[in-house]
Amino acid sequence: MSILVYVEHHEGEPVKGALGVLSKAAQLDDEVTALVVGSGVEPLAESVGKHGAARVLVADDPSLEAALPQPRVDVLARLVTERGFGTVLFAATVLTADVAAGLAARLEAGLNWDLVDFTLEGGSLVGKRAALGDSVLVDVGWTSEPRLALVRSGTFEPVANGGQAEVERVPVELEEWSTRTAMVEQAHEERAGPSIEDADVIVAGGRGLGSPDKFGMLEDLAKALGGAVAATRAVVDAGWYPYATQVGQTGRSVAPKLYVACGISGAIQHKVGMQGSGTIVAINKDPNAPIFEYSDLAVVGDIHEIVPRLTDLVRQQRGA
């Protein structure tokens, strides 16, 4: 089998999703190797060992400081080729998706993405992928080695019952062209803003609001319901609402009792952050919006008509 798990990190800590994938891989194979790439990252090996890696390869070099994908492909391509890893697993993030896809091209290797599980069947790896807006579950395989896989974010919880890993430094040699992209400013943790993780009720808004001032309408509804307001990436990127309120793959994961989605199309990357909600009510004027596939109450209509009325009705009922 020989599994390699790529472990991404941020501000001196391995990211949770990567430790989750590592823990899961360690259940299938007790000789799992992990790879940590960056600058000054050797101290991470301890935590990586605890989460199930038998060996930790460390590619440590100042040229790897910035969280950029292409130099990481250089490191991985060389290691996978020289050591003949049969499987390389990634917890999906913005960075690792680019690393995995670049590696697939470099090694002419098969890449399956959006896995929500993986197992061994008759000795070979089988991935479970939720496809077509999660309307079908697909068993996916690979026809050659190495097999590359991106696991959907938030899929596996880290389990810290491993021991101490053997640590090995590996050489770093980068291609000239893969270092041409420069990180001018690297993201730092933006924790400012309201916390949506503890709210029992979330009213979330997307591009269907039409303009940033329309968030006022959602704030009114949220207040009436005793909840918080959240947003999609599309509106956060557009500067309509703070990043701290973004729900989804690159934002927060929430699981309130009630999630009211207003003018949100329901992309998979949004869904992964809110699918654990108790009841999902979606209001969207497009009867084919993907969000209706996973809503408990699908309301086809215009939020500008419905939301203010709903707010009034909730206020009346609560006031009574």
Binding site: L95, A101, A105, E108, G141, W177, E185, L310
Partner: protein, 264 residues
């Protein structure tokens, strides 16, 4: 005025929003016999290219796609929006291509065009991969920026802001390079009537694998390294209800639903 550049935009046809989306249990491939449409996410990439053209008239915008020939109908919308021409790679031998095979073909088509800037949308609405550009950049040995929520072209360099799990990065890459843009970067223009009329006269160059010098064994199922083994229904979410609003009437129904479920 900016210096003119040559921009390639990789665009895909996907099943139209209203069309049934299914994987054919026989071929285990997406059923593409249904009505198709331009992948919405890619119109943001095209819009970004057209803005460069707006500020430097000599800029050339070429749409590059791989799909069955009938996709040229969906791609005409790109010409109507303002793209100069389309290169559509269409070949029986390319059917069923996975990431490795698709990018072998598209990279060959892009190499032939050798644009200064190659743009991608943030994801294909059917594949949801958000992976293609990184494989293309690696094949072309070009620098790359993904998830770009802004794009500035200056002094032969692209500068972009993009969101990661931790906030916002600012990245810079010299031309020639590959950039995938997020759907927040712009609001795509609608084709004008003049654009729609003119689109019919713009060239759509349909090329085969042989035209690109791609061995048939590198494309399609032969060139793929992944396989679909089995299909299953996902667990159902339980009963869900659907209502159509009529001038705000849904508010009352939502209220009773929430009351029923003791959510108020």
């Amino acid at each position: 005025m900016l210096a003119p550049v040559k921009v390639a935009v990789c665009m895909k046809e996907v099943p139209a929003a209203a069309a049934p989306k299914r994987i054919d249990p026989g071929t285990k491939r997406l059923d593409r016999s249904v009505e198709g449409a331009l992948n919405d996410f890619d119109t943001h990439a095209l819009e970004e290219a057209l803005r460069l053209k707006d500020s430097a008239a000599e800029t050339e915008v070429v749409v590059v796609s791989m799909a069955p020939e009938r996709a040229s109908e969906s791609l005409r919308k790109a010409l109507a929006m303002g793209a100069d021409r389309v290169v559509l790679v269409s070949d029986e031998a390319a059917a069923g291509s996975d990431l490795v095979a698709t990018t072998a073909v598209l990279a060959a088509a892009l190499e032939r065009e050798s644009p200064d800037l190659t743009l991608f949308g943030q994801q294909a609405g059917d594949a949801d991969g958000a992976v293609l550009w990184a494989a293309i950049a690696d094949r072309l040995r070009l620098p790359m920026i993904s998830q770009a929520a802004s794009l500035e072209l200056q002094d032969g360099k692209v500068r972009s802001k993009r969101q990661t799990e931790f906030g916002y990065d600012v990245l810079e890459a010299p031309l020639p390079c590959v950039v995938a843009v997020s759907d927040a970067i712009n609001d795509p223009r609608y084709p004008s009537l003049k654009g729609i009329m003119g689109a019919k006269k713009k060239p759509q160059d349909v090329v085969s694998l042989a035209d690109l010098g791609v061995e048939p064994g590198r494309a399609g199922e032969a060139g793929s390294r992944t396989a679909v083994l089995a299909l299953a229904e996902p667990p159902s979410r339980g009963d869900s209800r659907r209502i159509e609003d009529d001038g705000g009437s849904a508010a009352t129904e939502i209220l009773s639903y929430l009351t029923e479920r003791k959510l108020l």
